[in-house]
Structure formats: structure tokens, C-alpha cells
């Protein structure tokens, strides 16, 4: 059965059941990934996934279901399950379907450059990455994790209110971890890049950074416990900020799970802190012109020079606050799950100075280049964090050695306030969740007075 036929089967059956407000969401995804070990292909993954989810609304309440089977029976089961699920819903939210009437900034995000490459080209490239990185410095013992891949994603949403939308998008990634050793204690460094074309995945730059990091880290020691002024390097700060993005969700604000409640229009950070969600950001593999409820997406400032400008809304939370949806309904866990609220590309506005100038500005302190344990050590409800960290020691504006075995701790609201300045070296950071539906970009930043535990 093709997708069109399946949609008709679902819609016919839903109408026959007397349902008025319903929506079908279809996702077609291709994933390709390769990794190398000791100059050979190690892992190869090529995959096709097709999934459908169904949403039914009655008197503002929502029932949901999903399937990966596309038969007549599956179409009926999809509707029946959603009806069953709807019976137990007690939510106070009043949800509704979007009719597709908005202004869509519709664009083609699919470039097709990755799919033009042959499998062997991609395999050669990842082998070159692994071997090249290992041969670059005699202390590098291995590249245990490396991966090159791309994803092509098609999303189709249709509902009983006339919404009918389709979008296709693609993007790729490369990452590697290098291990280096002087003898006993191995050190690690990780770096990841994303892009719309293979040319965006600069393997040389990625390898350079891993090697130069490892050279410094090989002479590492902990520092004394105390308060330090800290440069969070670009990708580390990007990942770090993603761990607190839930604070900006209107749903968390309305449910009393966010410290940003009642703070709209108020100063929550320093003037150096501007926070943006941009679904059209060009260097990101995540690009959307409608969200997962079919609402047009848009670029928006969450925080402008320290002032909280807006929360992120979907349809139901916007209705409750009597505002428009910001187009941030996202199926965080893939096509199956009901929509939650999330950003697409979270961006911290860069400053004018280079990373080296930031070192000068810091003068004495630490550079944090990697943070460990973000998924458990950063709590977006309390804002507290305590994380393992590694990086560099800075004296008189120069990097003088590596640091390991330390933790950095504090509260995110204090971090917002203590951002002194941002560099101009924006880079991608791995978001802590939903790598497929969102991305984070940040420059390196100086944050004053971070609690450090060491010796």
C-alpha cells in the first residue's frame, strides 16, 4: 500500500467513526553511517524507516497512536487506539488542530548532495579520517569512535481541517574521538561537525583540533578547589545550554517547572547574552518551515541582550497564554510520540573577538573544552549543575597546561548573569537530547565565578 492510499484508508475510517478533528503524521527517513577501525571499514549502517502517527481531538482532548505497519487493519487499529487513549485524557489544556492558513516561509531544504556520493566515497573518507588522525601525532594511540553519515527526512502532515504539508530535508555529520598517551594515563578528545553538504564536514579542521587538544591534555593535572573565571569553549557551551533549554518551554513555565516563570520582559542575563531559535539556520542539518503541528516556523529571540523576550509555544500553551504559537511543536522522540515543545536551532549570538583575544581578556582562569554527565548533572527544573570537566589552564592570557579530574558547579541563572563576553568562533555542539530534530550553536564565552572542585 502506498502512503496516499494509507492516508485515505485512515481518513475514511476516521470519518466513518464519526470523528471530526484528526491528523495523520508520516515520516520517511533514510539513515546512512560508516565508521572505521585500523584502516578498515568497521561499521556500516544503511536504513529506511517509515512511520505514521495519528492524533484525534475531541473537546480539546487529544488521543494518540502510531504504527509501522501499513495495512488496512493497521489503518483501523491506528484510529481505534487513539480513540481508546482519548478516553483517559484529563488534561486541562484545550488543544486544537491547525488549519494551515498561516504564512509559510516555504523553502527547499533538501540539497541531495549526500545522496549523490557513492558508498565507497564515504567509506574512503571515514577511513582517511581514522588513519589520518592516528598518524598525525606519535602519541595518538587510537581513534576508538568515529562516524560519518547523513540523514534524509521527509515529513508529511494532513488533517481534517484542510492542512496538507510536505517537507524534505537532509544533512550530515562527522565525529571522532582521539586517545593519546604518554604511557600510563590515556587522554581523550572529542569533536563533531554537522552540515548540509560533505564540503561542510571539514575533516582536517576536526582532526587538527583533536590533536592540538590532546597535546595540551597530555600534561594535565587537577587544580585547587575554588572559584574561577572560565572560558567555556564553543561546542561545550552549546551542549551545556541545550541541557537547560526546557526552561524556555511555555509548557514547563505553565506547569511550574521553570525558573523563568513571570520573568518575561525582565533581565535574566548579562548584556552579552542573546539567545536565538532559528529554524532556517543555514549551517544546520535541522531546517523546518512548519513545526510538527503544521504551524509556520520563524526565527525568534528568546533573550535579547539579557532580557527575556518570549517562551517557546505550541498551539495549546499559546491558547492558554492568549498569544500565537511560535511554531515550536516538535516530536522530540521521533514520529511516534506526541509533540512536545522544543527549539530547532538554538544559537548564542557571537561577539566580535577571536578565541585568542578571549584568552587575553580572561588573563587568569580555566578553559573548559568538554563537559561530562550533562544528562544527569544538569537539572533544568532547579537550574543546578555539577559536571565533570576537562580543559586548559590559562595564566597571563596564555594556555599553560591541561586540566583534568575537576568538576564545575553552579546555577544556570547565575551563569546567564555572569556571561562577560562571547567570541566570534560559533561552532556546533551536540544537544543532550533529540539529536535529529534539533541542533545547538555557540561561540566560546567567558563566564565569571564558576565553582570548581579539584584537589
Amino acid at each position: 500500500m502506498n502512503l496516499k492510499e494509507f492516508k485515505e484508508k485512515v481518513f475514511d475510517y476516521a470519518s466513518k467513526k464519526g470523528l471530526k478533528d484528526f491528523e495523520l503524521y508520516l515520516e520517511v527517513k533514510r539513515e546512512f553511517e560508516v565508521s572505521a577501525q585500523k584502516g578498515n571499514l568497521e561499521n556500516y549502517k544503511n536504513a529506511n524507516l517509515l512511520g505514521a502517527s495519528f492524533k484525534l481531538i475531541e473537546q480539546g482532548k487529544v488521543g494518540s497512536s502510531f504504527t509501522e505497519v501499513f495495512s488496512v487493519e493497521a489503518a483501523q487499529l491506528l484510529v481505534d487506539e487513539a480513540m481508546e487513549n482519548l478516553k483517559i485524557i484529563e488534561s486541562e489544556y484545550e488543544d486544537f488542530l491547525y488549519d494551515g492558513s498561516g504564512n509559510y516561509n516555504s523553502r527547499n531544504f533538501y540539497r541531495g548532495e549526500f545522496e549523490k556520493l557513492s558508498q565507497s566515497e564515504l567509506i574512503e573518507k571515514v577511513i582517511k579520517l581514522e588513519e589520518g588522525l592516528k598518524n598525525r601525532d606519535k602519541h595518538i594511540t587510537m581513534v576508538p569512535y568515529n562516524n560519518l553519515g547523513f540523514r534524509v527526512e521527509e515529513i508529511y502532515i494532513a488533517n481534517s481541517r484542510g492542512l496538507d504539508l510536505y517537507s524534505k530535508n537532509d544533512g550530515g555529520h562527522v565525529f571522532a574521538m582521539g586517545l593519546a598517551s604518554n604511557g600510563e594515563n590515556p587522554k581523550s578528545s572529542f569533536n563533531a561537525l554537522v552540515g548540509k553538504e560533505i564540503g561542510d564536514l571539514d575533516i582536517e579542521a576536526l582532526s587538527d583540533r583533536i590533536v592540538s587538544d590532546l597535546k595540551v591534555l597530555m600534561n594535565s593535572s587537577p587544580v585547587k578547589s575554588g572559584k574561577y573565571n572560565v572560558i567555556f569553549r564553543n561546542d561545550a557551551f552549546a551542549s551545556f545550554m541545550s541541557a537547560f533549554s526546557d526552561m524556555f518551554s511555555a509548557e514547563n513555565v505553565q506547569k511550574g517547572l521553570s525558573l523563568l516563570k513571570d520573568k518575561l520582559g525582565e533581565r535574566i542575563g548579562s548584556e552579552a547574552f542573546t539567545f536565538i531559535d532559528d529554524p532556517f539556520f543555514e549551517s544546520s542539518p535541522v531546517n523546518r518551515y512548519f513545526d510538527d503541528q503544521g504551524v509556520p516556523t520563524k526565527k525568534k529571540l528568546l533573550v535579547e541582550e539579557g532580557i527575556l523576550k518570549t517562551y517557546l509555544y505550541d498551539l495549546k500553551t499559546a491558547k492558554k497564554d492568549n498569544v500565537d504559537s511560535t511554531g515550536n511543536a516538535v516530536k522530540l522522540w521521533g514520529y511516534k510520540a506526541p509533540t512536545g515543545i522544543s527549539y530547532f536551532n538554538l544559537i548564542i549570538k557571537p561577539g566580535k573577538r577571536s578565541f585568542e583575544e578571549l584568552l587575553e581578556e580572561l588573563w587568569d582562569g580555566l578553559v573548559v573544552i568538554e563537559l561530562d554527565g550533562l544528562h544527569s548533572g544538569a537539572n533544568s527544573v532547579s537550574g543546578d549543575f555539577s559536571l565533570g570537566a576537562r580543559g586548559f589552564k590559562v595564566e597571563r592570557g596564555k594556555i599553560v597546561g591541561g586540566i583534568e579530574g575537576i568538576t564545575v558547579s553552579g546555577n544556570i541563572l547565575k551563569v546567564f548573569k555572569n556571561i562577560r563576553c562571547c567570541a566570534n568562533d560559533t561552532a556546533y555542539g551536540m544537544p543532550i537530547m533529540s539529536v535529529d530534530s534539533s541542533a545547538v550553536f555557540s561561540p566560546s564565552v567567558i563566564v565569571d565565578e564558576i565553582d570548581v572542585a579539584g584537589i
Binding site: 577501525q37 585500523k38 578498515n40 571499514l41 568497521e42 561499521n43 556500516y44 549502517k45 544503511n46 536504513a47 529506511n48 524507516l49 517509515l50 487529544v62 494518540s64 497512536s65 502510531f66 504504527t67 509501522e68 505497519v69 487499529l77 491506528l78 487506539e81 482519548l86 478516553k87 483517559i88 485524557i89 484529563e90 488534561s91 486541562e92 489544556y93 558508498q119 587510537m142 576508538p144 574521538m177 586517545l179 587522554k187 581523550s188 575554588g226 517547572l257 525558573l259 511516534k336 506526541p338 561530562d372 554527565g373 544527569s376 548533572g377 537539572n379 532547579s382 543546578d384 555539577s386 565533570g388 579530574g405 575537576i406 568538576t407 558547579s409 565553582d451 570548581v452 572542585a453 579539584g454
Partner: protein, 462 residues
């Protein structure tokens, strides 16, 4: 289901194309997920997943593809694609036939989740939510998540194996939020099992809600933990996350086979203090991380990992086992058909020692008592691990004196195992979700109360 002659044709074709080994994983899964906020059901989702994962290995290469387009043409196209990558000399006269191995089900269940009314599931959630809410006025929000799934897997391989397993999982996750002006703290409790709905007759659900809320209430009044190196007493149950992160991941063949583990080449050597013995046991009836067979079809078993400080075994899957010249330990696992299987933990825990937990605290002059733990992570190549303390207390002069919050514990796996100097007699296990290269899987962690003579505690400076 997929007709057996198609599966057979796929495997034969893979062997003809030069695969040394090939296997096919067919998975059907029905799942339910209900979430509740403030005592009201917010979302309810259910559905069916169905897909096929196909793997061929040759030398050090593993080639994996999956699809949920289940026509013969689509499946043979997947095989063709893998054949191109194998790039090996074709073989002739390949024959195979399946011999089915039936597995005894050690994880009996009574109430299939599908047969239970959704309203009954909601009742359980409400009970937990009320339990949490009624603990204190400081509790301002309670989130409850219920989920169950019923997974059926059919595993076939080029050695002629055909086998089946059915796995049920049920879990309740409770998060409570305590609030004071400008401050919030959370508490969490999430019991689960490889059981049907009868799981909720095995413990007091109201009390489970109270457990989550009490953590939040104690922590909102707590000072921040001190920063620096100190002795740490880690409570039983979820405290076992320290062994899981500090040691367990580095014993997985995924890292060991390529030498990317600090424990590579150390079998038979002393890697921990005498008082440390640990096992990984996928056979425990109805335990969260158990199954009758692993995701390559090998029966699960009890593997002694460390005995009196000596490294006895790794966790091995078939593919990495061939690289290491070792047999599978029944440890191949994956989240679902979208992931190639690899060696993972199941139910992993430190075995009990001789001390009463009270003795351990009484003999500690100054340090941290980590009563309830959050998650953690590790870099197997360097052994650097971290995990969060959800509920902590200060120990002063052998007594627990006051609650402290916000602590992270960090260290190196190879070092911390030597620093365990007391092991209690109160072994308990707790449920977690472990994320790694083959996706997120159910895993029990466990231990008795233990003491680590020195760890870096990430807290705040006075």
C-alpha cells in the same frame, strides 16, 4: 511475520556474497505510554512497531541495515546493498537449514499489559501522584510516567539458528518538584520489572510516590555539597551506578576488542580491592535487565566479572568475540531493530560483603553519604566517569549530620575500584536506562552500601 523461505533466501544470498556470518532480527513491539501532570492524564500513546535488522560480518567489518518495508523485494534489496559493501569473493553451493531452539521462559507473567484496562493503569498513576503530593506543602508539581511494552523477537542466523523470545517490561516513573521562592528541587523514583501489570502488586505504589517527594523536600532545605576530595559512602541499590559507569562499560567487548578500554588485556589480573566481587546476570527472573536469550539468540547467563578483586570475564557478543577469540557471554543487546547488537550489561551489581551499613558510616570521620543517585556516564578509553548524587548527606564524626545537594562524583574507573575499602551486607538492585552504541536499553544496577576512601565531590566552595 516474514515467511521463513524469504529469511532463508536472505541469509543464503549474504553467504554467497562472501559474508562469514549473517543474522536477521525480526521485531514486533506493542507499546503503551501514559503521562500525568499534577494528577491529570496529559498524554496517552500506544502503537505497534515492526521491523527487520539484517547484519553481515566479515573479518573486522560489521555491515548493518534495517527496514520496516517488509515485502520480499524490499528485503532482498537490503541484502543486495549489503552484498555491495561486503565486496568479497562470491561463494557457491551455499546451503542452510534452520533448526529451531526453544527457550524455557524464566520470566513468567500473569497480566499481559494489553489485557489491562487503561483506566486501571491510570489508577496506579494517581495513587503514586497522590503519595507524592501528600508528603508536604512544598511539593508543587508531580509528574508520573507509566509505560509498558510487549516485544517479540525472532532471531535467525547463518549457522542455522532459529529462536524466539518474548519480553515484557513495565515501569512507573515519578518525579516530584519542591519549590521555595526562587528555588526548585526535584526527587525521582522509577521502579520497573520484566513483568506484566501484576508488578503493581509487588510494592506499595503510594509509598513509591512518597519516596520521590521526600527526596525533593529534603533537598530544597539542603545546603550545597562541599567541593573537593573526600571519602564517600554510597548507599545500596541505585548506588551501583558507580560500578556500572566506572567499570561495567569498560568491560564491554565493544571497547575491549579494539583496545579502547582500560581493562583490555587484564583478564586474570588484580584490578580492584580484595573486597570487590561483581557479576552481570541476565537470568534473574523478572528482573528489569533480564531476557531468556540475548539479541543474537545466545541464552543469557550469570557472568562473574570480578572475583575478590581479580578480573574474571568481559561482556562478550558474537561479533567482538571472534575478534577476541572468546565465546559470547550472552551479552549482545540492542534497543530495537534499528540498532546492530553489541555487548552490553544486563543486571550488574557488586556482591555483598560483611559490614552493616551503620558500621560503615560510624567508621567514617568526615565525608559524603550518597543516599540516592542520579545517572552518570564514562569514557571507556580513559576510564573517566561521573555520576550525580540526587540525595546526599554530610558525615561528620561517624554520624550523618545534614542534607547536602548538587554533588557530582568523578573519578577514574581503574583507580576507584582499588579505593573501595568497605562493602556492606545489604545488596539491592534498582532500575535504569543505559544509553550506548546500540541504543537505550533496560538495565539493573546494584550493590550493597560501599565506601570509597577518596573521590572528587563536585560541590560549591564556601
Amino acid at each position: 511475520m516474514i515467511a521463513e523461505h524469504i529469511i532463508e533466501a536472505m541469509l543464503v544470498e549474504l553467504l554467497k556474497k562472501g559474508a562469514e556470518f549473517a543474522d536477521i532480527f525480526v521485531e514486533e513491539r506493542n507499546s503503551n505510554n501514559i503521562s500525568m501532570t499534577g494528577g491529570k492524564v496529559e498524554t496517552a500513546l500506544s502503537g505497534k512497531s515492526f521491523g527487520v535488522g539484517v547484519r553481515a560480518t566479515i573479518g573486522v567489518r560489521s555491515i548493518y541495515a534495517y527496514t520496516n518495508e517488509l515485502t520480499e523485494n524490499a528485503l532482498m534489496a537490503v541484502v543486495e546493498g549489503i552484498g555491495d559493501i561486503l565486496n568479497s569473493r562470491p561463494k557457491r553451493n551455499v546451503r542452510m537449514s534452520f533448526e529451531e531452539r526453544k527457550n524455557e521462559n524464566r520470566h513468567l507473567f500473569i497480566l499481559e499489559p494489553a489485557s489491562v484496562n487503561k483506566a486501571d493503569k491510570v489508577k496506579i498513576m494517581k495513587m503514586a501522584s497522590e503519595g507524592a503530593r501528600n508528603v508536604s506543602k512544598l511539593i508543587t508539581q508531580v509528574l508520573v510516567n507509566y509505560f509498558d511494552y510487549d516485544q517479540r523477537v525472532w532471531i535467525y542466523n547463518s549457522e542455522g539458528l532459529k529462536t524466539f523470545d518474548r519480553r515484557l517490561r513495565t515501569r512507573l516513573m515519578i518525579e516530584a518538584v519542591a519549590t521555595k521562592p526562587g528555588e526548585k528541587e526535584t526527587g525521582f523514583y522509577g521502579p520497573g520489572a520484566a513483568m506484566g501489570f501484576e508488578f503493581y502488586n509487588t510494592f506499595d505504589v503510594y509509598e513509591a510516590g512518597q519516596k520521590a517527594a521526600r527526596i525533593a523536600v529534603r533537598m530544597i532545605d539542603a545546603e550545597y555539597a562541599p567541593a573537593g576530595k573526600m571519602p564517600v559512602v554510597i548507599s545500596n541499590g541505585f548506588g551501583g551506578v558507580i560500578f556500572h559507569e566506572a567499570c561495567g562499560h569498560a568491560l564491554e567487548a565493544t571497547s575491549v576488542a579494539k583496545g579502547a578500554s582500560v581493562f583490555a588485556g587484564k583478564l586474570g589480573q588484580k584490578v580492584a580491592a580484595d573486597c570487590v566481587s561483581a557479576v552481570d546476570d541476565g537470568t534473574i527472573p523478572n528482573a528489569w535487565g533480564s531476557a531468556n536469550i540475548d539479541d543474537e539468540g545466545t541464552p543469557t547467563r550469570r557472568n562473574v566479572l570480578i572475583e575478590n578483586g581479580i578480573l574474571k570475564s568481559y561482556l562478550v557478543d558474537k561479533f567482538n568475540g571472534r575478534k577476541m577469540d572468546m565465546e559470547s557471554t550472552g551479552s549482545a543487546r540492542r534497543q530495537d531493530y534499528r540498532y546492530a547488537p553489541t555487548s552490553r550489561m544486563s543486571n550488574t551489581f557488586i556482591l555483598p560483603g560483611e559490614y552493616y551499613p551503620e558500621e560503615i558510616i560510624a567508621s567514617t570521620e568526615y565525608g559524603l553519604y550518597a543516599k540516592s543517585m542520579g545517572g552518570g556516564s564514562v569514557i571507556p578509553g580513559t576510564g573517566e566517569f561521573n555520576f550525580s548524587v540526587r540525595e546526599g548527606y554530610l558525615i561528620e564524626k561517624g554520624r550523618i549530620t545534614k542534607p547536602v545537594r548538587g554533588a557530582k562524583l568523578i573519578g577514574k574507573g581503574s583507580e576507584v575500584l582499588w579505593k573501595i575499602d568497605m562493602v556492606g551486607n545489604d545488596l539491592a538492585r534498582a532500575q535504569g536506562i543505559c544509553g550506548s552504541s546500540s541504543g537505550s536499553i533496560t538495565a539493573d544496577v546494584g550493590q550493597p552500601t560501599i565506601r570509597v576512601s577518596e573521590l572528587v565531590v563536585g560541590g560549591r566552595n564556601k
